[in-house]
């Protein structure tokens, strides 16, 4: 038994050792967080071929963990949500946004409700929301927290604490849908892509949970790189990386995110998010 353990340990330590020298990226997809390694190692292979360096993917649990790993140079490239990208760049001098998903230019959130809440589709957020229970996604999610909260404050003129009798954070969008569908919360805000996908997969019973309001569009997920890539991997590396991302056309690889393609992006595309986050007190 101990001998087996040692052999195992040796094998893995060799594999982790090489990780220290290779280019590392991370991504948290907006749905289905399982089998991440299988799905994203194909993306790593693609980048590795395009960039001529060894590329590794490491799975990360949450947005703050991803930001921290990025700041600590344990990750050089990250697929962040809108707000977390802003956070990461504020904490990591020199980091920049280089590309976003085609869908992310015009992202939106759905407000969904359990049938018992009796909320019907409307143009504006209804006054009937007062006194209901509400579930957001992750605390620093753009589509599950930041933008929904911003629109709530704008339209109803008060803070969510004053609107809802109970507020929760589900941690991710699939969970938000499940929690509203089970009636644990009456109202939820969810990333529209996850909703559409779960609807297509038959996971949603629309007699129990349905959309009652759609937010205006805003920018969301994007790729952010550290500012010191060229120093470590040679001049022009960041450009090459950006080109590789923009030229990624294989639908199987894009499905991991899931996006139809990547398009250019720059830091100030997300100014709106930074201002919004400051407005609701998520950033100082």
């Amino acid at each position: 038994m101990p001998r087996i353990l040692i052999i195992l340990a040796l094998t893995f330590s060799i594999s982790t050792f090489s990780l220290a020298q290779s280019f590392v990226f991370t991504a948290i997809p907006d749905n289905d967080e399982t089998r991440l390694i299988q799905r994203f190692s194909k993306v790593a292979d693609y980048l590795s071929e395009k960039l001529d360096v060894e590329v590794k993917y490491i799975p990360v649990k949450s947005y703050p963990a991803a930001v921290t790993a990025f700041r600590h140079k344990q990750v050089q490239l990250a697929w962040f949500g809108g707000l977390t990208g802003v956070q990461a760049r504020r904490l990591t001098p020199g980091a920049t946004a280089i590309a976003q998903g085609y869908e992310d230019k015009k992202f939106k959130s759905y407000f969904i409700a359990h049938s018992s809440a009796n909320l019907t589709k409307s143009e504006q957020l209804p006054q009937a929301l007062f006194g209901k229970t509400m579930i957001f996604g992750s605390k620093s999610s753009t589509s599950g927290r930041l933008m929904p909260e911003l629109f709530l404050r704008r339209q109803l003129q008060v803070t969510p604490d004053e609107i809802f009798s109970r507020i929760g954070f589900s941690g991710n969008h699939s969970r938000t849908i499940a929690l509203v569908q089970s009636g644990a919360y009456q109202v939820g805000a969810v990333n529209y892509q996850v909703w559409e996908q779960e609807l297509a997969e038959g996971k949603i019973d629309r007699s129990k949970v349905d959309i009652f309001w759609i937010t205006p569009e805003y920018p969301d997920y994007h790729w952010t790189v550290r500012g010191d890539l060229d120093r470590q991997w040679g001049k022009g590396f960041t450009k090459k990386l950006r080109r590789a991302l923009l030229e990624l056309k294989d639908p199987e690889l894009l499905a991991a995110f899931p996006r139809s393609s990547f398009i250019p992006a720059s830091d100030n595309d997300y100014d709106l998010l930074e201002v919004s986050a400051k407005a609701i007190g998520l950033l100082d």
């Binding site: 330590s13 050792f17 344990q74 904490l91 644990a184």
Partner: protein, 493 residues
Amino acid sequence: MLDKIIPVSKTGRVLSGFGLLALLCWISGDITITTATPGAEFQRMLAGLLHPQWPSLNELIHAILQTISYALLGVALAAVGGFLLSLLFHLRLVRVVCASLRAVHELFWGLLLIQLFGLQPLTGLLAIAIPYTGILAKIYAEIRQEAQQRHKPYLPAQCTALSRFFYTDWPFIKTDFAHYTLYRFECGLRSGTILGFIGLPTLGFQLETAFMQGHYADVTGLLLVFYGLIATIHWWGQFKFWSLYLTAALYYLWPGMSFNVNDIGWLLEQITPAPWREINSSFSTWFYPIVSQQLLPGLWNTLVTGQIALVLSALLGLVLYPLLSNHFGNPITRWTGHLSLVILRSTPELILGFALLLLWGPSLLPAIVALAIHNGAIIGHLTGRHSNNIQLRPDSAQGVNRYSYEITPRIMNQFLVFTFYRWEVIMRESALLGILGLHTLGFFIDSAFESFRLDVALILIIASALLNIGVDSAGRIVRQYLHLPTHRVIERS
């Protein structure tokens, strides 16, 4: 008249006080089942429970090795540090430092250390090593003190501390040290696992993902692996293998470790309250909202959860202990009782709380019940084993009468010792379970980390540490008042 309503014995008074307090907490606290239609989720959980599944072997082995390595290195470091500190335990300063180290839950240490080291092995093993150093120092000191008191009368007057240690203390305390350290290793495996919930690549990482995605078959599979590890620990975790394991663990984790000295400066800057970092901002306008919107609600909910959970754990412990006591049932019922108690107490509260939250929706209830189940099973286990020391007359009462009039009164004092020792643990876990979204201190701490306000996080962590230190001394006062032994009875499983 009043004598008939209010019990006159000290124990009766204290216990009814705790019961009444719990009742008040229950009435005023946020305790409801909010799920309107939990049936579907429950069915999915049940289906998953019956059809366990495992992730790919490669990932699983990796997660297991990470979990074990963190636990091994963390506990080994804590054993060394704890031993050295235990030699200085007569110093007040050392006692205060140790009390503060262990008053902060390992997951909160983890959240703080992640900021310093990022996602890497140092974070995990130090998150275990730091609080465990505080715990082990105290236990080691107590064990040694006990041995010294026993041998004092027989020692010559001029006997150096060194020879006294090696010739009288050490031979007697080393087995106790070893037992307790192994028990801590088992706790370390639990801690290592739940550190996955904040992003380290241990079993908890996959467990949380599977929970979040509602893949209950994977949850069951991973939990079975976890129970397997804990249940076989006496076989593979023996000390004779440790030197081998430690070398392997160090070799395994070493390549991932890195440290940048500048990060200390960065962390110190970040944990400095924001108004002190900037000019023209007043401390009070920054501090009061934190107190009124986070600290006080968090403390209140933590207290409510902890007090109710303490009383429920005690009641559950009393109900469960006969399951494995030799005075009740037959070998088959005892064996099943033992197995179910092992499962109940091995499951980390965080995981129980997570499952209950999915079923019942958010209120303090899932946390209270999770804590009661976990701690009730531990108290039941310890009490049940203690009851085996009692010798009954061959013609003593059977069944309910034996339970109520023979065994329970005799184990009462020891049962209370076990229970009051869990008080501080329960309080620490109550704060922690806020990470799941219930508004105890952990919720606000997690939120502060999520928005990278480390200054706020630190204030809240200090508040939770002070709460635990307070509860620890309250526990001591109660034990003294009831004339219960004030030293920890070593929990061996």
